[in-house]
């Protein structure tokens, strides 16, 4: 199990350490720094590093490495998952404004995830159904793979020990789900109803996955014309973003990013809406589009200055897309009803739907 934990910031300082057994010297982190140097980018540092006497398992989040020191065999995911929970807890704790007096005063409750004696004057339960589309679109615009990653995040502030059931109009969609431990497996298996005593406050009730084998609607399309010409040092660049299968909803928060090849020195582009930036150092093009108006499709056109004298780059950049659609769960998932048992009062209940782009890539 975990011997020690070191927190290392972006500039390579160990700014926090914790030992659960005998102290392990910080110098063990040198192995980690070595590996970090070998990997060009932080995300390429191997999560498991073997050193002569220890194993270093790390996660990288918020520009901080959380490095756990292990001495004996342990399932690596056990440690990695745990470290992520640590980070989640930190985020929860430091992220909130009322640091200090809001820590759970967990009693030994029969329901391990819920403290006893919860009291609210306004009893409310909110559920957000959020779906992210991961997709790869090929150069001709057809979908190579598309899947949906959905979650139901809840904010439940209910007095006492409420016992909730949540049912869906189309539970068939949920054939690949993972639950918060509060959800009763058996009930789901037999009736496709989520039955649970909720933890107090914010939590993720369930996440689900609609796999690439199903048909996934793609709400946007990108028309692109990116041309490097062999002879000239100027290239053409043109992208248009438009809606497709949006169920009549507006696509907003659209953001286009693309990593241009090294040979591109600069770009002179004109967007029909929104703002764009090209960073000549990192070669990253960012176009903040905003809302898509179907009547007047946003486009970004112009030319690229290529390094003179070199031949044209043989790779075309990939276009990464972000967007948001309110009031829509693209899988079609719909909550049917929410009922509460075990308590007498009537809570206020709310459901919200949202679809977002996950890892959404268009190959050009």
């Amino acid at each position: 199990m975990i011997h020690s934990l070191f927190l290392i910031n972006a500039s390579g300082d160990i700014f926090l350490e914790k030992h659960w057994k005998s102290v392990v010297s910080r110098s063990v982190c040198d192995y980690f720094f070595e590996a970090q140097e070998r990997a060009s980018e932080a995300e390429n540092v191997p999560p498991v590093i073997s050193t002569p006497h220890h194993y270093l398992l790390s996660v990288y989040r918020h520009k901080i490495f959380f490095v756990a020191v292990i001495q004996t065999e342990v399932p690596p995911l056990f440690v990695i998952e745990f470290l992520h929970r640590v980070v989640d807890t930190f985020q929860d704790y430091f992220g909130s404004t009322n640091v200090g007096d809001q820590l759970p005063t967990g009693q030994l409750s029969v329901v391990p995830w819920r403290r006893t004696g919860v009291k609210y004057t306004n009893n409310e339960a909110y559920f957000d159904v959020i779906e992210e589309i991961d997709a790869i679109i090929d150069k001709s615009g057809s979908t190579i793979t598309a899947e949906i990653q959905g979650v139901i995040d809840a904010c439940v502030k209910l007095t006492g020990m409420p016992d909730l059931t949540l049912s869906f109009m189309n539970p068939r969609l949920l054939d690949d789900v993972s639950f918060h431990p509060c959800v009763r497996f058996k009930r789901w298996e037999s009736e496709r109803i989520l039955s649970f005593i909720p933890p107090d406050g914010n939590f993720r009730l369930l996440s689900y996955h609609v796999s690439a084998q199903n048909l996934v609607a793609i709400p946007v399309y990108v028309k692109h014309n990116i041309n490097f010409r062999d002879s000239s040092s100027l290239g053409r660049f043109e992208i248009t973003v438009g809606p497709k299968q949006t169920m009549g909803k507006t696509i907003e928060g659209v953001m286009v990013t693309s990593q241009m090849p090294k040979g591109v020195l600069n770009m002179s582009l004109t967007p029909s809406q929104g703002t764009h930036i090209f960073d000549p150092v990192t070669k990253l093009l960012t176009w903040d589009v905003g809302k898509i108006n179907p009547q007047k499709l946003p486009s970004l056109k112009g030319s690229m200055n290529l390094q003179a004298g070199t031949s044209k780059p043989d790779e075309n950049p990939t276009i990464n897309l972000q967007f948001k659609i309110q009031q829509l769960a693209i899988s079609g998932l719909k909550v049917n009803r929410l009922d509460m048992y075990g308590e007498k009062y009537k809570p206020f209940k709310g459901i919200k739907y949202m679809t977002k782009a996950g890892k959404f890539q268009v190959r050009t």
Binding site: M1, I2, F15, L16, K18, K21, S22, V23, E43, N44, P46, P47, V48, Y55, Q71, P75, P76, L77, F78, I80, E81, F82, V86, D88, T89, Y93, G100, L103, L108, P112, D138, T145, E147, D176, F179, H180, P181, R184, F185, K186, R187, S195, R204, L215, K244, D314, E315, T318, G332, R337, L338, D339, K346, K349, G350, I351, K352, K359, Q361, R363
Partner: protein, 1137 residues
């Protein structure tokens, strides 16, 4: 939130660090000791180290003497707030790695402090420094001993935790005593802490093992979920070899598992995997007998692991029918739902359990869960992919359906890309290889060059494993040799070298091409590879080889060492085969090498000179020089680095590192004979024999921990009735007062809305009255009249939305309120108080009205259907599979050579080949033939229509002829023909069935059933039937052809036989071999045909160029490379006939 003691301990120092000024008195530590700790806090004390050196270093590095007078003063004060502040600062120092050991005496005094906050921080300090200041630490022991007797379970537990964490050997006996006592504490929480303390004590003094095992045995018998995970952890750390301790607890652990906290689940599942491997028989030993043969035929080239083969042999010998031990089944059944855990470690644990323990047919269930984990953090992905890579070698079929989930994004970190590539390569087979290669083609254009290099290697591996695409891959790789990026070229050279070694004779062209590359490629490994190739196959390139040597001799001194070694090698080989031309060069090279700086090279030169240049002294070896150098070398096997990694338990650190980690428990092999299963029997009295304390405890737990025993309690039973049940059940369950009549129910329901809106205006009252009336009316109906009346706002909201939705198409845009349902709910209820806003009331009224008009159950369900948003349709791939008649129509319009039209027509309807599906003998009088009618299959354009002709040659009637149990590869589909009810003797029936072959020539296996018999039959399509003609103009054809070059183009030369030298014959033969349409062509010695594959609609373009005499060249362009390759073969064969 989670209860994670170690985390919260961590929180403390940080929060303190953030508030150096004493402004924050409230401590964030309250929860620390409270949450039920999980097994990860059962940290084992390390063996005692000498007093730590780091503290001096730290002190020195900070540059100031460790004097903390102010802190000491604060600790000595009477005020708790000052003490607390001091402790916070001290703990913060520790967290930042500063030395605070000199404060030990001042801190330890406060161990008895009444203030719980101070106390906790003192504990933190003690755990950190007690090991270094053992004598002083002893001062605190009596406090803990007192704590162990405290009436508060939390204090008892925390005293034990600290006592067992301070690593002072002198107190071992005290710890032992405390653990024993705590193990029979009435609080399960304290017992859990006792379990945590066991490994700590064991690591401090392993002589205590025997006594500790006794405690473990006792705690293993504990029946609370709280203890289970922790005690199994202790078991694993102290006595993993005592598998006998598990027997009696096995079934209990299986049954408790689902309710154990997640970290405990991981530990228990891993332990039970090992246990099962010692106690049960392999579930696959007999299955391999039955399935293996079928599967082998199915997958053809799939290599079967030796273990299975062994099992097969063993079971053949024994022939004892395998029956799974019910306990084995119990484990599989009870772990399966945990695949849906949110915890990746739990999912992985179950996955490895299934992989190692489940019958082959059941292992598949884990694939979906593992693929789901791929969406998690990249570290999780990394570990999961490593495990998938190992699994996919052994059980490829399992992940095949998820192929696309392993496609690579440009934003993936390189290490993830490379692992995904590994999995994709493992999953490649004859069916999907063209898809995979196409995907690889896009990867080759990536900006990430490491990844490109890995892709090239992956292509090499696909080429070795799947003979069918070897040439295609090789051609593709050769094209990469002209890539601008040197790394890409170099990697290609290395891979090509390996591929060529498999069949060098046919590829002298490629070797020549590579010889030219020595002028340009600078990467040493690539240069070395080229030189080796030329040397090895110098007889294939007799002219070029000496010239290459000449050039290399010139640049010898500037080459890297590996290149120099290969130059020497080349020289030696040439000398042996072609000494006339290369003698001098060889001597020159050897002389240069003789004076090289590197002793390896000098050594090699000396060795080779002796070996190849005959002198008086050289002796016998010289005769064999040629044999030594030019021996047949076995082709390298390009295999996955994950092969056979599954001898490590999956999911383990050792598996990930591919090396045994400290403390790794070997996964035992299945026993040949099952040990006595009765050891797991538990006597009934033992089950019920629990103390009153436990009974009480369990009673409380029941509702939450006993899902398996069915739901209990009134609330549960109420809502467990089906949704569509009568109105009463719905209302009673939601109102919570089952006695209330439906009218009362309404009242309540309205009140609920009032509560929601906070206030209620007069205006709304009337309106609501009306609604109530309506509702009452509705209730007269037989059906759950209005969902609104069921008492759930949710329902109402949903209903409201339905109405809104329904209204919209009719042009009635209700009002601006369309945001979320949450918004709609709050707005509609609060708008009542707004007194007079029209819109919401309209909506509300409508909301209630609409359902009322839908009286019958049918209509309701229709409404539901309307509302159900079906998964939106995928953009239909522009399938231009035009019916043959249309093609001919169009062709008639544009074809210049109209005389050809009949020839085009004929293959579809005339020269149709029939194949036998079931011979008369085999079918016991029933004979079945099939042909490919080349008509579009009605109903599904992605299916190939297969016309089946069934003749009944028996003298009895054959009844209910049908297709059943198709056994298809992933992705393939069958549309069965409608059942033939009866077929009279001598009759013949013709039916059409559709098969989606997924653009592959894999066989579709299915059974043909009659009322009495089942016949196993299979249909394998010729590649030419997997497509349908498509019409295009000459220009279009050229344009498309231009896009399909490179790896997608296959060219072959052929000689046309005498009878095939007319336009008519050529067209006839090509169209009979493949279902293609002719494309007009200006040149009169060229023939073009086009088609699209039926499933994916990929273009297949055929060009036949007839040169003078009998020579001709056939080119097929298709992104489906496999299809292209096979098609070329088929067409050539057809033309040769």
């Amino acid at each position: 939130m989670l209860s994670l003691p170690p985390v919260q301990k961590l929180l403390r120092p940080k929060s303190v660090a953030g508030s150096d000024v004493a402004e924050e008195v409230t401590s964030p530590v309250l929860a620390t000791e409270a949450g039920p700790p999980t097994c990860y806090s059962a940290l084992r004390a390390d063996e005692l180290r000498p007093l730590a050196a780091p503290k001096d270093e730290v002190a020195a590095s900070t540059g100031q003497p460790p004097r903390h007078d102010d802190l000491k003063e604060m600790l000595d004060s009477n005020k708790d707030s000052l003490k607390l502040e001091a402790m916070k600062r001290i703990v913060a120092m520790i967290a930042r790695g500063k030395n605070a050991s000199d404060l030990f005496p001042a801190v330890v005094k406060n161990v008895a402090c009444k203030n719980i906050e101070v106390k906790k921080l003192v504990y933190v300090y003690l755990v950190r420094y007690a090991e270094e200041q053992q004598d002083l630490a002893l001062l605190s022991i009596s406090t803990f001993q007192r704590g162990l007797k405290d009436p508060n379970q939390l204090i008892r537990a925390s005293a034990l935790r600290v006592l067992s964490s301070i690593r002072v050997p002198i107190i071992v006996p005290i710890m032992m005593l405390a653990i024993k006592e705590a193990a029979s504490d009435m609080s399960p929480y304290v017992r859990k802490t006792a379990a945590h303390a066991i490994p700590k004590l064991y690591s401090l003094d392993s002589d205590q093992k025997d006594q500790l095992i006794e405690v473990i045995e006792k705690l293993l018998a504990d029946k609370t979920t709280l203890v289970a995970g922790s005690v199994v952890m202790a078991f694993e750390e102290v006595c993993p070899e005592r598998i006998d301790l598990i027997h009696k607890n096995y079934r209990k652990l299986c049954n408790l598992l689902i309710d154990v906290e997640e970290w405990g689940q991981v530990v228990i599942i891993n332990m039970l995997t090992r246990y099962a491997r010692t106690q049960f028989l392999s579930p696959n030993q007999n299955e391999s007998l039955l399935e293996e043969s079928a599967e082998k035929a199915f997958y053809g080239s799939e290599e079967e692991d030796t273990k299975d083969a062994k099992a097969e042999a063993a079971s053949l010998a024994k022939r004892k029918p395998y029956v799974m031990d019910p306990d084995h089944r119990l484990l599989l059944r009870n772990t399966k739902p945990l695949l849906q855990s949110r915890n990746a470690a739990v999912v992985m644990a179950v996955a490895q359990l299934y992989f190692h323990l489940a019958p082959k047919a059941e292992v598949g269930v884990i694939a979906k869960a593992l693929v789901r984990l791929l969406r998690s953090h990249s570290e999780v992905q990394y570990v999961v992919l490593q495990n998938v890579a190992t699994m996919s070698i052994k059980r490829r079929g399992m992940f095949e359906p998820y192929l696309k989930s392993f496609y690579i994004r440009s934003t993936d970190p390189t290490q993830i890309k490379i692992l995904k590539l590994e999995v994709l390569t493992n999953l490649a087979n004859e069916t999907n290889i063209s898809t995979i290669l196409r995907e690889f083609q896009t990867y080759i254009r990536s900006m990430d060059k490491d990844f490109v290099a890995a892709t090239i290697q992956a292509i090499g591996r696909c080429a070795t494993n799947i003979g069918k695409v070897r040439d295609t891959c090789l051609n593709g790789l050769v094209q990469l040799l002209s890539n601008r990026d040197e790394l890409v070229v170099a990697e290609s050279v290395v891979v090509i070298k390996k591929l060529l070694q498999m069949q060098p004779a046919q590829h002298s062209e490629i070797i020549k091409h590579m010889a030219k590359l020595t002028d340009n490629i600078q990467v040493p490994m690539a240069r070395a590879s080229i030189l080796w190739l030329i040397g090895e196959y110098c007889e294939h390139v007799p002219k070029i080889a000496p010239d290459v040597l000449r050039k290399m001799a010139k640049s010898f001194t500037n080459e890297e060492d590996i290149v120099k070694l290969q130059v020497i090698n080349l020289a030696a080989k040439l000398y042996l085969t072609n000494s006339k031309q290369s003698k001098l060069l060889t001597q020159y090279v050897l002389n240069l090498a003789k004076y090289d700086q590197n002793y390896d090279i000098r050594d090699r030169a000396r060795f080779i000179r002796q070996l190849i240049v005959p002198t008086e002294k050289s002796g016998a070896l010289n005769k064999y020089a040629k044999k030594l150098f030019l021996a047949q070398k076995p082709a390298p096997i390009l295999e996955s680095s994950f092969k056979d990694r599954d001898h490590f338990q999956l999911g383990s650190l050792s598996h990930l590192l591919n090396a045994k980690a400290v403390g790794y428990q070997e996964l035992p092999d299945w026993p040949d004979e099952a040990p006595d299963p009765s050891v797991r029997n538990v006597e009934v009295p033992e089950w019920t024999k629990c103390t009153s304390r436990e009974k009480r405890k369990e009673k409380v737990e029941k509702p939450f921990y006993s899902d398996s025993e069915g739901e209990s309690g009134p609330t549960e039973s109420a809502d467990s009735e089906p949704e569509s049940d009568s109105e009463e059940s719905g209302s009673s369950s939601s109102s919570g007062t089952s006695s209330s009549s439906s009218d009362e129910e309404d009242e309540e329901e309205e009140e609920e809305e009032e509560e929601g809106s906070g206030e209620q205006s007069e205006d709304k009252e009337g309106e609501e009255e009306e609604e109530k009336r309506k509702k009452r009316k509705e209730k007269g109906g037989p059906w759950k009249a209005s969902p609104g009346s069921v008492g759930s706002e949710e329902e109402e909201e949903a209903e409201g939305k339905k109405v809104k939705k329904a209204a919209r198409p009719q042009g009635k845009k209700s009002h601006a309120e369309t945001s979320s349902e949450e918004a709609s709910a709050s707005e509609s209820s609060s708008s009542g108080s707004d007194s007079g806003t029209e819109a919401p009331t309209v909506v509300e009224a409508k909301r209630r009205k609409t359902p009322s008009s839908k009286a019958g159950p049918k209509e309701i369900s229709l409404l539901d259907l309307d509302d159900f948003t079906p998964p939106p349709p995928q953009p239909v791939p522009s399938s231009s599979i035009i019916s043959t008649s249309l093609v001919t129509d169009l062709e008639g319009l544009t074809l210049t050579d109209t005389s050809l039209a009949p020839a085009l027509l004929s293959p579809a309807f005339g020269a149709v080949r029939t194949y036998e599906l079931l011979h008369r003998m085999a079918g016991e009088g029933l004979s079945v033939e099939y042909c490919f009618s080349r008509r579009p299959f009605p109903g599904d354009p992605h299916m190939v229509a297969v016309q089946i002709q069934i003749s009944n040659n028996t003298d009895a009637e054959v009844k209910s002829l049908r297709v059943s149990e198709p056994k298809l590869l992933a992705g393939m589909r069958i549309q069965e023909f409608p059942e033939i009810e009866s077929l009279a003797p001598g009759d013949t029936a013709s039916v059409v069935m559709g098969i989606d072959f997924c653009d592959s020539t894999q066989t579709a296996n299915f059974q043909l059933c009659t009322h009495t018999r089942h016949f196993y039959v299979s249909i394998q399509p010729p590649v030419g039937e997997l497509m349908a003609p498509v019409f295009m103009s000459e220009n279009e054809f050229r344009k498309e052809q231009g896009k399909l070059t490179g790896m997608s183009e296959i060219t072959e030369k052929l000689t046309l036989p005498e009878k095939c030298r007319s336009d008519h014959a050529i067209v006839q033969q090509v169209t009979s071999a493949a279902n293609v349409g002719r494309v007009p062509c200006g040149a009169d010695n060229e023939y073009r045909f086009a088609a699209k594959t039926v499933t994916s609609g990929s273009l297949v373009l055929i060009t036949l160029e007839w040169r003078e005499g009998a020579a001709a060249q056939l080119t097929v362009n298709s992104e489906k490379m496999v299809i292209g390759t096979m098609l070329v073969k088929d067409i050539i064969q057809a033309l040769a006939q």
